[in-house]
Point group: C2
Chain length 183, copies 2
């Protein structure tokens, strides 16, 4: 998996922020020429496909400043340093939805924007949801609204672009293929 490898000659840090870092890598291309690569470093994230006993998909609506609008997504959150993705997934599911899960199955990992970012999302499927009595707190700058929708409603939300991000688009396709086995 090193085909067409681009070797780093120099790394120039540009920005070191709360969520992301930006650096410019000077690289040697396979043909010996030089090029510059703009790279965002991100800690990675988890996302959870959570389906209730009634077959409803658990979603959260939140404002996404980068898009200047709110969108409806599956529950998700950033990894803390050194944290196992499954631990993050249990925590974020609880914080964002008030649901615990009897089990979380790792489904798949994927890079979200390989052209410029190293962010990877670890996707889990939550089974055996139950309401938590004492719901954990959200981050202080996080505002989310919980929704529970049928597959049909989720598909309609894609048509209306209220669901509008890659991980949730993937989750709805996955649910359409797996709902009958999931219940």
């Amino acid at each position: 998996m090193k085909k067409f490898e681009e070797k780093t000659i120099k790394t120039t840090p540009i920005y070191d922020g709360r969520m992301i870092k930006l650096q410019i890598d000077d690289v040697t291309l396979p043909n010996g020429q030089m090029a510059k690569r703009e790279i965002i470093k991100h800690p990675g994230a988890v996302a959870i496909i959570a389906v209730t006993d009634e077959g409803k998909l658990v979603l959260v609506e939140q404002y996404r400043k980068a898009l200047e609008r709110s969108i409806i997504e599956i529950p998700a959150g950033k990894l803390e340093p050194g944290e196992e993705p499954v631990v993050t997934a249990y925590r974020e599911l609880e914080e964002e939805t008030g649901y615990g899960a009897r089990s979380l199955m790792f489904l798949q990992a994927f890079a979200t924007s390989p052209g410029f970012a190293d962010e990877v999302i670890y996707l889990f499927v939550a089974k055996g949801l139950y309401k938590i009595d004492q719901k954990a707190d959200l981050d202080e700058d996080e505002f989310v609204e919980l929704l529970e929708v049928s597959l049909e409603d989720a598909q309609q939300m894609i048509v209306e672009q209220r669901i509008y991000d890659a991980k949730t688009a993937f989750a709805v396709l996955w649910l359409a293929a797996n709902l009958q086995h999931n219940l």
Copy 2:
């Protein structure tokens, strides 16, 4: 779609590069508190699910510096300023694969990393592929290898994490659901 809106008080540009820009927005949260949002501006991109008459999915392998490895993806490319996504899609399909398409159907758009980037991918399905005699040139810093694989092979590539990005993971699920109607 302005629920929990975060109003911009100030925008601080940090970096203006070849592919991306970085800015910090100072915002007012719904509860009146202030917060900072790190935002990547990206021109947007297209990606193409291209299936040959033999039912093979057309893929390209390329090195992704952000991930420090090569991955196998559906053909994709950035929008030029003011360009209609469908125009980009015809061009990128031809440049990266040497295939023309008799038609491109718009399938869906999705944001790749709504937590920190405004990048949106416009996803198309290419029908009626034909080989171009005089293949268009790739960008000078672009090195890609063409692959044509069965659905089964693509699914195995996900297991082996050779396919490892969100748009291609989505495309393989879509293909599994639609292959019989597509041929």
